[in-house]
Subunit: 503 residues, 2 copies
Amino acid sequence: MRKFILFPFLLLVGLAHAQLSKNEIFTTSEAQLRVSLIEFREYLSLPNNGKVPEDIARNLEWTQAALESRGFKTRVLIGNGVPHLFAHGKMDPNKKTILVYMQVDGQPVDSAAWNQENPYIPELMEEMDGKWEPINWNFLDGKINPEWKIFARSASDSKGPTMTFFSALDILKQKGIEPTVNLKFILDFQEEISSPELAPIVAANKDLFQADGILIMDGTRHFSNLPNLAFGARGIVTATLTVFGPANDLHSGQYGNFAPNPAFQLSRLLAAMKDEEGKVLIPGFYEGVNISEADFEAMSQIPEDNQEMAHEMGFAEAEKVGRNYQEALQFPSLNIRGLKSGWTGAEVRTLIPAEAVVEIDIRTVKETPNERQLALLKRFILDQGFYLIEGEEPTEEERKKYPKIASLQTRNGSQPFRAEMDTEFAKWLESGMRHVFGDQFIKTRQTGGSQPMAPFINILGAPAVSVRIPNPDNNIHGPNENIRIGNYLEGIQTCLGLLTQDF
Amino acid sequence: MRKFILFPFLLLVGLAHAQLSKNEIFTTSEAQLRVSLIEFREYLSLPNNGKVPEDIARNLEWTQAALESRGFKTRVLIGNGVPHLFAHGKMDPNKKTILVYMQVDGQPVDSAAWNQENPYIPELMEEMDGKWEPINWNFLDGKINPEWKIFARSASDSKGPTMTFFSALDILKQKGIEPTVNLKFILDFQEEISSPELAPIVAANKDLFQADGILIMDGTRHFSNLPNLAFGARGIVTATLTVFGPANDLHSGQYGNFAPNPAFQLSRLLAAMKDEEGKVLIPGFYEGVNISEADFEAMSQIPEDNQEMAHEMGFAEAEKVGRNYQEALQFPSLNIRGLKSGWTGAEVRTLIPAEAVVEIDIRTVKETPNERQLALLKRFILDQGFYLIEGEEPTEEERKKYPKIASLQTRNGSQPFRAEMDTEFAKWLESGMRHVFGDQFIKTRQTGGSQPMAPFINILGAPAVSVRIPNPDNNIHGPNENIRIGNYLEGIQTCLGLLTQDF
């Protein structure tokens, strides 16, 4: 009886994996690694600030050539002056179609804060006595240590993941194997500024983008650095709030105890927004979020030690919005990302500052839409007694009339999204991961970061899941961004696993 | 009966004023003005950053020559490498002795922020259509408009007041009149960095500095621009507080709701320090300050419209520490002069910042000594649950152990001082002012700004009062510092009034 049930199951598994065995995936990816990294180095050496048209142009040219040389047809879609690169391969009507999303641009760099001179000249590095030291790129000719890293802007976010996908395609071509799915690509050149033109482009070219599932080649792996599928990502909105004090900076001796200080007014407002435990006090902020016990149970299975995570990041205690880290990510968050008033450090001077500025970001989830969270923030500021001006500076009349004046500029960024975990697409992804990594991979319900994916989902009606490749200690967005060679290699293996599984 | 009483009174008044009538003071000062301004221009053209030894040397040479040419004996007292210029005239044992304090150095300049090219090349300017335009210095040969201004670093703070004193001496010499008091001078070359060597110099030369009263030729006039004696000035202490969050900036999506944000921790701390009305909530902060009804009554006589002042400075309502502006200055104040965390504006990035810094200044009064206020601040921060580290960065162990970590660096600046308003010295000052200005002058119990005078008072035991000459719109410390010609002229008249009154 037992045998009878197992037999056809094993047979099916055997068939499904026939195109490339786990062993072949490992040997071919290792053989391809050196060539892949050389091309990766070249790709990283192109500056890629999405706000700089020349940067966009050079990266467009490079990626277009990379796709065409791999046999894909490309098409540049211009939205409001910004290019988006679409590509597709052979369309077999008997196969399902996957739309692969790739991010080309990276965060701006503050070179002075990096250990290397130029964040666009990639460095291959080895850790020696706790310090990362550059090693010669010729070392790639010998045995490649998976613990080495490549340091450069966009190494992990997200030129690395893109290159691993390209390398998987190269291996399949060498082997004469067709991917099990039809492939479409969309390359985004303004992800770090929330892809303002992506939604209109997709809306205007709906048929072109039509797919059965969307694969997002972006995002960092879970803390455990296990291979990782992520079924959702939080959205993001940002706000700049400026509180106005006196019209000019005033001498703090002559007017201290008389002129109101905007930095104190701002501090009181911010203090009222969030309590000591990290819980946001803006009424309605969490409304609609409902984590089932089953969801929480699944999250609790993910191997992570929250206390150890906190200690590794250098703090004693985590905030208490969720019962653990995974649950915390299911809720919207409110963050101060920047604060400035007067002068600090060597520049300090004894003045009552004329202004105090805070930069806020709010991460949203499907149940707490971006627009609603911004409206709640604005309502809260008004309820705290602030008068919000329309322009950049209060008028003389406004200054005379209102004791607490501020300006609020908001930006609606990426929408949140979350795919169900039981679709055919989800099963295809899971079988690909299982083929390569057995049970050593993680499915996360929703990750904390944001990706500009909502337009695809809402307009195309296809589920979107992100395949996470980079190591969690990759310093994305900050100085010394890097990718671990071992992760890069597993990225190629992940893509090979997926592209050889039946959908 | 009435006549009998009035007669000797009028006679005494007549005797006291015999040396130089009000009319003579006015005519001689106007006649001297052009020559005085030419010498002033030369003095202003010497750069005078107290941290630059060459600047100090050139100003020392100039002031030494200026005093010696006026018949004073000079002596350079070196303290820790920094010169202080002492001078004295003839010492008549039948006269009282006044020690005149003069500030030579000025704040550093940020030339780019000035309207003129070089803040050390003085410009004579006239207001035309609301804008200050340079006019030729030859205009001084004709009728001099009291509304003209001279723009240069230290025009008001405090080379202007020094020059008016020198010019009064020149007039007396021309008239063959001896001052009614013996004169000593101390010239300070590091006032803007809180005169670090002045106290030791005074302590080591106590006999040399001995005087019956100290005249401080520094400080800006009251808002009304009426001639002004100030009997006290607040002291100042400063503090830099850094709150530590995660060891590195973290991605606000990946760790938002998990990693504590130091900018929120700092905001809560600052919000707890001061209420909406501007009252400091640090326990004991105001302890010892006691404003009598008589004091308050005298302050209320000073002609100022607090609401109008607030509106002119661009805010609707003043803080409520005092019942009016003058009373507010009798209390210690707590000011946020700088705030910084993460990035703002074009540099903004979606991170949870690793640190948040606040720069604080506390103005102190005689009853709330500097050291006590700093201790109260530190106690308050500890009571709010912060662990204060000793070094620059918390250790790994400290990070694991304490949920709220900060570093506090404090600096003790000028001490507060306040002279009684009913001494013989005070009466001499008042009679000099009254002789020239009638009842059109102001006595302020204590002004808001700080001056490094406490060493004189504490060590010499003499009352110190500052004679305020510059116009309140003089932009001291900032760009476009200036002095109004009318104020400069009244400065000469003030000094003539004092130097011809019997002490």
